[in-house]
Amino acid sequence: MIRTDVFFLYLVVMAGVTYLIRMLPLVLCRKKIENRFIRSFLYYVPYAVLSAMTIPAIFYSTGCLLSAILGLACAVILSLLEKKLLTVAIGACGTVFIVEYVMTFFG
């Protein structure tokens, strides 16, 4: 087991770096940005980040590839119907659960 004082040293460094990365831009950028290119960039970035984080990671987020693909399909359909976040999340989880449950009968 790691010594308590050593642990806290690492914890403070780890949390400090993580917090500064989040805090500095939020505190330093207080004015509305006028530049059209930068505003366009900031408009697209969130969607790009979420897309990159989802594909391909979602395929490996469940017990097997099949349940993940069907869970994703369910999420896409519910989102196209513009359902709420919680509905989409529960729908996808439910699909994964049912698919994996059914699969237990087929070994």
């Binding site: 087991m1 993580t18 960039f41 999420a75 976040l85």
Partner: protein, 252 residues
């Protein structure tokens, strides 16, 4: 809307994130205790950082007592995406949000909280952000504690099903604007294609997930800001305006 109502609305919007975090942090709890941290240390790591990828990378560095500079570099690279999000969020926060409140909100900038905040139609105020942050942080710490205490408290199939929750939420955030705006849709497809390339192509797959996400987001964002800039701000509310305005830009 008064502060109390705003806070409650944030709390409600944060609830799906809380559910998703329970499963992810549960897995982290199991991992960290297995790696050699005590239960209390594991919980403190989650409480102080609230970041999945950063924590996963950080625990082995603590346990192995590797050089501190390695901790700094790893956390910096993996979490750098938060600074992009914070810049974006700084434009979404109402000018009324004070410095002290910004310092508090900064603690809760995670992928999911950011995504929900940015998908709001109007500028967001302090109470809403605090409400939005409350339940995910609670879920993150609670899930960690449960995972650390008893790795097999939930049946495996339930953990497996919860694993997709956060990604399903991302899908729900990205698809509605992508449906209305072709530039957003294409930008997302490019980011996905690049991300898949980073994952599956042998040489590229050696690049850490944190860096590859930054590269995907920067390239897609810069390219589309260049070829499909959003219209200049007029008197309409910024986000509604941008959402349908950028589509017209592409069509013309």
């Amino acid at each position: 809307m008064n502060s109390r109502k705003l806070y409650l609305r944030g709390l409600k919007d944060g609830f799906p994130i809380c559910l998703g975090y329970l499963s992810v942090s549960f897995a982290f709890g199991i991992f960290a205790v297995g790696a050699g941290l005590s239960i209390w240390q594991t919980i403190l790591v989650s409480l102080a950082n609230v970041t999945s990828a950063g924590q996963l990378a950080g625990v082995p560095i603590i346990v192995g007592s590797l050089p501190l500079v390695e901790m700094v570099l790893t956390q910096f690279v993996i979490n750098l995406r938060y600074s992009l999000m914070s810049v974006s969020l700084s434009q979404k926060l109402s000018p009324r949000v004070k410095l002290l409140h910004r310092l508090a909100i900064a603690f809760g900038v995670t992928d999911e909280i950011f995504a929900v905040a940015i998908s709001q139609k109007k500028e967001v105020e302090t109470p809403y952000m605090l409400g939005l942050i409350t339940s995910p942080v609670f879920g993150w710490v609670l899930g960690t504690a449960l995972g650390a205490l008893a790795g097999d408290i939930l049946p495996e199939m339930v953990v497996s099903a919860l694993g997709i929750a956060l990604y399903a939420m991302f899908v729900a955030i990205v698809i509605p604007p992508a449906k209305k705006n072709h530039a957003v849709a294409l930008c997302c497809l490019l980011a996905m294609a690049m991300s898949a390339a980073f994952y599956y192509i042998p040489v590229l797959s050696e690049i850490s997930a944190g860096i590859s996400i930054i590269i995907c987001a920067l390239v897609s964002g810069l390219l589309f800001a260049w070829i499909a800039p959003i219209p200049d701000e007029e008197k309409k509310g910024p986000s509604d305006h941008e959402a349908d305005g950028a589509g017209k830009e592409v069509a013309t």
